[in-house]
Amino acid sequence: MESIQQSRGVRKEIERAILLLIRRGVDAPTDDAEFDRLARILFAYQYTSNAPYRRLCDSNGYLPDLVKHWTEIPPVTTAAFKAARLACFEEADTQQVFRTSGSTTEQQGELHLDTLELYEASLEQTFGAYVCPEGSRIRFMVLAPTLEDVADSSLSFMFDRAVQYFGTQQSRFYVGASGWNPEHALCDFKTIDEPVAVVGAAFSFVHLLDAFDTAALRVALPSGSRVMETGGFKGRSREIPRDELHGWIESRLGVPRNRIVNQYGMCELGSQFYEPSLIRGSATTTKRVPPWVRTRVVDPELLSELPTGDTGLLVHYDLANSGSVMAIQTSDLGRVHEDGFEILGRAAGAEAKGCSIVADQLMDR
């Protein structure tokens, strides 16, 4: 009992320090020594409190005493969140569960949270900085269901909080529990007379733009409007290359490319990454990494760090992931630049390279 109390005390203390770091904002100087200190304390806590993660660390010889720098903290892959409950607390203390999207037959990944404090703080800082940098409230047009409709969607949670923090009372969600309602959206798009933030998953934009084409509709959203799109398409709409999607948004909604922000996030991470198009005034494909996160690129086979500019798998170290595992290895290929990182696609091949049914399953994951 005493050790649980002690453990909770350590957690509270480290979360307080992480919260201070997050609240300094995305432009605060990046202090590597501070990040390293916090990351290693957090790793030691997660090693102690998260049994499956400890097993993984022990199997590979990663003990907190041997980790001398945050880069040595062993990551888990996003698939690990499907294989085990990676939480540092009792199930009864769970406040929120985010689940990965997927088919009903596929096992879903789950991020368990016992507090939303860091998650919300990170969201507020990054969303505010890159999607609502003016600091004033804006009308949101959300192409996603509400949190009430999909309680385990990190996307709906994000938009719910974004509307709370930055939205006007006219903000609206256009996808209901029973699905997409293009009539309502098109009707509102025709009459918009103030700047708006149109936000949603990339596949939702495909549905929206299809509805625009069916109705032969083109609008020019008022100056100051912006679009934020995130996520992929898999199984939800046809796949459209990013450049084509952005061109389509530009021509149908009248929002120029330098006001389209791509966000990169995942259910398993407490923080998200944004392209700073709005604050730069020009389109970019580089995502900014907030000061409480580090991103490395590793060799897909050896998992050793690759030099800046080389392509490999992205690994994120996110201090906002205090209650699960802070180091997450993705299946996304990318490269790191001085001012962020770039996604070069998922590591998946276009076609299974074999006639074994297992090769199909490998590509479908």
Partner: protein, 369 residues
Amino acid sequence: MQALESIDRALALWRGEDAAWRIRLANAHALYSAEVIDLGIRASTALWTRDALAGLCTRELSQRMVAPRSTAVWLAGSIPTATFSAVLLPLLTGASVYVKMASGDQISATLLKASIDAVDAELGARIQLGNDVAMLEQCDAVVAHGSDPTIRAIRERVPPSAVFIGHGHKFSIAALGRRTDVGDISRAIATDIAMYDGRGCLSPACVITEGVDTARALMNALGVELERLCVELPRGTWSADELSWIHQWRERLDLLGIDNLRSADSVDWTISIEEPTPALRLGILRQIPILPCENVETASAWLQQQRPQLSTAALSGWDEMQSHLLEAGCARICDAGQMQFPPIDWHHDGMPPLRKLLRFADDERRKTQ
């Protein structure tokens, strides 16, 4: 018979100790190591002799059957010998063959055609390589390989009057009973696992053992052999996604505390001992689960869940399993070490290799003289 003689002469170009065509393919294949390709072609062409081809023709071709004039072969996957047999079988019936090559292997069919051109230009001219989907509507027969959605899509384009054969993606297993000497057989099982890096539908995606003691003994012996094969039959090119999948595979074992043995400082191979549950993840890329089953009934129950997808089984020291394997849909049972080297007349998916392409034609007239 002209085609048979020419095919035999062409295969001879691949069969010899220093066969230039085999060496050329081994060096050019993008996915597999030269050693793997070399063994695959040598072992298969050694079985595909003139006598084997002639025996197949004698058994399956008769005057009452009409061969298709043209056959479209839609390839998938990356196994050269699978490509070879898919092209050669329609040729043996007398058909011309239109070959749509797989994206994972553009070279095998190209070199096979070139070797046939070299011995019999006329027969070579009956092979056409291309990517024209209109051929699906024009050929008398279509043989499609691929995933279930691919086969469904191809089938939709084929006219009802044409013969359509679909070979979907499958997987294979090895089954070892307590009577097996794992020390003796581990080399052969390791070869089955290592060949084509487990990508083929004839590759074992798991090993079923009778009892946990057999599983543990096999894991240790197999580890030694798979490590040895890293040099003798090195792995080929694995994509970033495949490597990422292997890390996830290994991580799952660690997270769940599943007993395993793995190559050190590389992702070359992993062996795990896992429960035979319906949710079991099958292996590929030399990552192989061993499933200890207490008895035939336990093994059979698991196999029944895999029924539509089972292709081949290597069986050793467990004769009682034979009928259960067949009941579970297995179309071929062989010795360990032979899984990747089926004879030319094997019944792929339980179908006769040539006869599946033919149609019977009856002439009921009385003989007048």
